[in-house]
């Protein structure tokens, strides 16, 4: 493989990896705090992409992205309040099934609204074209997406580790009863976290539309990878999710360049090896 191809593959891996990290952070927080594997996370990402496409037509590129973020975050809050909350006292398996059902409903709704065929979308004119990075030519838009998602990932991380609200979230992950006893309205923290996780996934989906295109099943397709990121990184560990996201993205992308049939499977081999070597995840404590 020549250097230009290798550089391109690694850059592609980082773009996807940042997206995985962004989804992994939301999923990881929801899992840590509410103790549910959110099977609807993928479809929320897909919904973000579709809202983006319609939103761009109405409000322009940035407006479309914001519309995706807000709409899906609100939907997340509704799902948490009306669905997940009702199941907080029963076995977590049921919450999983609830989110699985929602995932089916939303995927089908996307087909009903936007049709079953794939859609492509273009980056804004300002960001079209490529830049010469010396080793390779690389699309401008992808570089911008990489930077924007990196900033989002970093901002989420700092929010959770450095702010007061973040401290409450972390306290909730450690011990819900204790956090509730301290007078924190833990239910509201749950709702906000679920909504924020949904919003981040949607924003990720929105930004990726010109890169990956749109397909009604895109949410179901990406979900397993987001799960791998969380499991590999360690439950509730944000640095773990970021590291695992990048790792998965780059491995997948490199395998695509070397031997395409093995690209997706390699990710799951990576996860299995990771679980056997470090059952608590790369950076997980538990």
């Amino acid at each position: 493989m020549n250097l230009s191809l290798l550089a391109g593959a690694i850059l592609n891996g980082l773009v996807t990896g940042m997206l995985y990290a962004l989804m992994g952070i939301g999923l990881s927080l929801i899992l840590g705090l509410l103790n549910i594997p959110n099977f609807a996370h993928g479809v929320l990402y897909a919904l973000g992409a579709y809202v983006m496409v319609s939103g761009t037509k109405a409000f322009g590129f940035v407006g479309g992205a914001l519309a995706a973020l807000v709409a899906v975050a609100v939907l997340g809050a509704v799902i948490e309040t009306l669905g997940v909350r009702r199941l907080s006292r029963v076995h977590p398996d049921y919450t999983l099934l609830l989110t699985f059902g929602l995932s089916l409903i939303l995927t089908e709704s996307i087909i009903l609204v936007w049709g079953p065929v794939g859609i492509t979308s273009q980056p804004p004119a300002l960001l079209a074209g490529s830049v010469d990075l010396g080793v390779t030519l690389y699309p401008k838009y992808r570089l911008v997406v990489m930077v924007v998602t990196a900033v989002l990932v970093l901002a989420s991380y700092l929010f959770v580790t450095r702010t007061r609200y973040g401290a409450i979230i972390r306290a909730g992950i450690e011990d819900k009863d204790m956090a509730a006893a301290l007078g924190i309205n833990i239910r509201r923290v749950f709702t906000v976290t679920f909504a924020a996780g949904a919003g981040l996934a949607a924003l990720g989906g929105a930004l990726m539309t010109p890169v990956r295109g749109l397909l009604p099943t895109m949410g179901l397709d990406i979900l397993p990878f987001a799960f791998v990121v969380v499991v590999l990184g360690g439950l509730g560990s944000l640095p773990g999710a970021i590291l695992a996201g990048l790792l998965v993205g780059v491995v997948q992308s490199l395998m695509t360049a070397i031997w395409p049939p093995g690209a997706d499977a390699s990710v799951f081999v990576l996860m299995t090896l990771g679980i056997i070597a470090r059952p608590q995840g790369l950076l997980g404590q538990r």
């Binding site: 899992l31 103790n35 549910i36 594997p37 669905g83 009702r86 199941l87 029963v90 977590p92 398996d93 049921y94 999983l96 099934l97 609830l98 699985f100 059902g101 929602l102 995932s103 089916l104 409903i105 939303l106 995927t107 089908e108 709704s109 087909i111 009903l112 179901l220 397993p224 799960f227 791998v228 969380v230 499991v231 439950l235 395409p260 049939p261 093995g262 690209a263 997706d264 499977a265 799951f268 081999v269 996860m271 299995t272 679980i275 056997i276 059952p279």
Partner: protein, 335 residues
């Protein structure tokens, strides 16, 4: 108690006999095939307390194995069935060994992850599996034992074979849950820590349950491969895994008959609705959400509730003696 069990079994056999005259024989076969898979998941979810979201792994692997054996070697029916069951069991033993190292959410995600891994392999390895187009051209060998040979070409005859296989599988499963294993599995579901403290190697029994379930699911996969003469890629996808979970859930977990009802209701509904409207998963999703929110015990619980209302109130738990507070002197003794 034995009499009740016998009556239930007779009713089950009667239902199996009547089934192909109530729905199309193909649908009846599908119901029996998925009832086996649902029964298997019930063993690990309902009895042992582990929710596997990757049963299609074993279903699909066995279906592909059977398909390839019949296409390339013209392997006979019973050999294929045995091989698929074995493949399901061995795959479940290997994958299960890794999965049972973790519990709860991690376990679910691991089963799901392995399922996806094999799905992607089947999807990309087109030379062997046909990829997205599925594996077509699978013959349906006759049922042959010694000189006896019965053709299974008509869908009603094939249903007969599937139904007998189902009843055998049901009997085997009943023997398993009636054996000490049944008590041990339920004890592990109820309280794994205590099960270890009384002397059971919890991981070993979980592994056993997972492996047994994999073998049953494999058998179901083989029967599925001969249904339409094709193994579709879907048979190893998480959609099938989710379907199986859903059948067990709507039927009601933890008893032998619930999953059978669930499989029947699921397949019958999907057949009835998808003819009218192709967005069947939407209705499935709505049903799933409603069941989870309002009727977690599934059809069996719905039935029990109705029966209790008709009979004027069911059995109630004993009133508990009031929760006592340690007496004053004792609480002082604790700093």
């Amino acid at each position: 108690m034995r009499r009740v069990a016998l009556i239930r079994f007779v009713l089950l056999v009667a239902a199996i006999v009547v089934l192909p005259f109530c729905v199309r024989p193909v649908v009846a076969s599908e119901i029996c095939i998925f009832a086996i898979a649902a029964m298997a998941l019930n063993l690990i979810f309902g009895y042992t307390g582990m929710l596997s979201f990757g049963q299609a792994t074993f279903f699909g692997l066995a279906a592909y194995t059977a398909g390839l054996m019949m296409i390339h070697w013209h392997a006979p029916l019973l050999a294929v069935l045995a091989a698929g069951t074995l493949v399901g069991g061995v795959a479940a033993a290997l994958i299960g060994y890794v999965c049972i190292q973790r519990v709860g959410t991690y376990f679910i995600m691991l089963t799901f992850g392995f399922n996806q891994m094999l799905y992607f392999i089947a999807y990309k390895w087109t030379a062997v599996t046909g990829g997205d187009d599925g594996l077509p051209g699978i013959p349906r060998p006759p049922f042959a034992v010694g000189p006896l040979s019965i053709s299974l070409d008509s869908s009603l005859r094939y249903y007969g074979f599937v139904a007998v296989s189902f009843l055998l599988a049901f009997y085997a499963m009943k023997r398993i849950v009636d054996s000490p294993l049944g008590v041990i599995f339920r004890a592990i579901r109820e309280n794994p820590g205590r099960a270890a403290a009384v002397g059971y190697d919890v991981k070993r029994y979980k592994w056993l349950a997972f492996t047994i379930a994999g073998a049953f699911t494999g058998g179901a996969g083989v029967l599925y491969s001969m249904m339409f003469g094709i193994v579709p890629l879907e048979s190893i996808s998480w959609i099938i895994s989710g379907d199986i979970v859903f059948m067990v859930l709507i039927g009601g977990i933890g008893n032998l008959y619930g999953p059978l009802l669930g499989a029947a209701a699921f397949k019958w509904l999907s057949e009835a609705i998808s003819v009218v409207w192709e967005r069947w998963p939407l209705i499935l999703g709505v049903a799933l959400v409603l069941v989870v929110l309002f009727l977690r015990g599934g059809l069996v619980e719905a039935f029990t509730r109705v029966r209790d209302i008709v009979a004027g109130g069911g059995p109630r738990p004993e009133p508990d003696e009031p929760v006592s507070v340690p007496d004053a002197a004792e609480s002082q003794a604790r700093p």
